[in-house]
């Protein structure tokens, strides 16, 4: 390969990479982040963001989806704040025992206003058959 074509290839690669970098903006959510916003925003608080990557470093799926009974479908768990304070759903851990408690509103209610409930992160392959 001549030097000229090599330089040209390198230039093309840089352009392509830059194009991708630009196309990727705004950057997507981390894979498997879940937004819960059935009631939050209507009730005047930010939507809730639940991160799988953070929790799965600490708990296997079976803890939440088998022992604690979270259904494996975004939106399928009808979570009420009163239940959480009663020790259900997130409150099974966020009880000042396994993790910090339900009084730390902002840590859970940290979502961007206007988001729909559902799974985020870019690679999801949801289709019409699902719904």
């Amino acid at each position: 390969m001549s030097r000229k074509t090599m330089t040209r290839r390198r230039l093309i690669r840089i352009c392509v990479t830059l194009a991708f970098a630009l196309a990727a903006f705004p950057a997507p959510a981390e894979y498997a982040d879940v937004v819960l916003n059935k009631r939050s925003e209507k009730e005047g608080v930010r939507p809730v963001v639940f991160s799988h990557w953070f929790h799965r470093i600490r708990f296997r799926c079976k803890v939440c989806h088998f022992e604690l009974g979270f259904k494996m479908r975004a939106g399928a768990n009808d979570v009420l704040m009163a239940d959480i304070i009663d020790g259900k759903f997130c409150g099974m851990c966020h009880n000042n025992n396994i993790a910090w408690g339900a009084d730390r509103c902002d840590l859970c209610h940290s979502g961007r206003p206007g988001l729909k409930s559902g799974i985020y992160g870019g690679h999801q392959t949801l289709g019409p058959g699902r719904w």
């Binding site: 990479t17 894979y31 799965r56 296997r60 799926c61 902002d106 840590l107 961007r112 392959t125 058959g129």
Partner: protein, 179 residues
């Protein structure tokens, strides 16, 4: 003066190119720019950035860019298996080969990595009957978020990573229980 500046720019571009060409660079969006967190939320100063935790774990393409199976097998993480002491933690080692009559490489379904993370009850019997060959699987259904696609494409590595599932070449007669 000008030529020095030009040389500097060229050098920076070359360094950037070398880094990008290596193609092993993993990038995670900062929370403030990830599109789901409110950049104005006071929590952003307290929440952990994905890069901080995930860059220390074994790399793989797609999803969180972490090989979550190896992360456990290598002892890098040891997530809790149960909260209630009476819960039975079940592990199964057997593999099942799927898609024996197709054209793509055979799919090896390994129980070990799945049961490291999941309980039998997460799959049996509502997603898959626990009998080799008893399920009618289809790539199409998976792409719609059914069958393997309940998890793969949502939380576990995405369906774009074809050869992590289609991992057994057809030429060799493979071992294991067939369907």
């Amino acid at each position: 003066m000008l030529s020095r500046a030009l040389r500097l720019i060229a050098m920076l571009l070359l360094i950037a190119d070398a880094v990008l060409a290596a193609e092993v660079v993993r990038r995670w969006a900062p929370l403030a720019q990830d599109g789901v967190h409110d950049p104005k939320s006071p929590a952003l100063k307290l929440l952990q950035e994905p890069r901080e935790a995930l860059s220390a774990l074994p790399p793989v393409a797609g999803g969180n860019q972490v090989d979550w199976v190896q992360a456990i097998e290598q002892g890098r993480i040891n997530p809790r298996t149960n909260i209630f002491p009476e819960t039975r933690v079940r592990l199964l080692e057997s593999d099942v080969l799927l898609n024996l009559r197709g054209s793509t490489p055979i799919v090896r379904f390994p129980h070990r990595p799945h049961t490291l993370w999941l309980d039998c009850g997460n799959c049996h019997e509502h997603l898959f009957k626990s009998r080799a060959g008893a399920n009618k699987l289809s790539m199409d259904a998976m792409l719609q978020g059914e069958q393997c696609g309940v998890c793969h494409g949502a939380v576990s590595f995405p369906l774009t990573e074809c050869n992590r599932c289609h991992s057994v070449p057809r030429a060799k007669p493979a071992q294991g229980k067939a369907r």
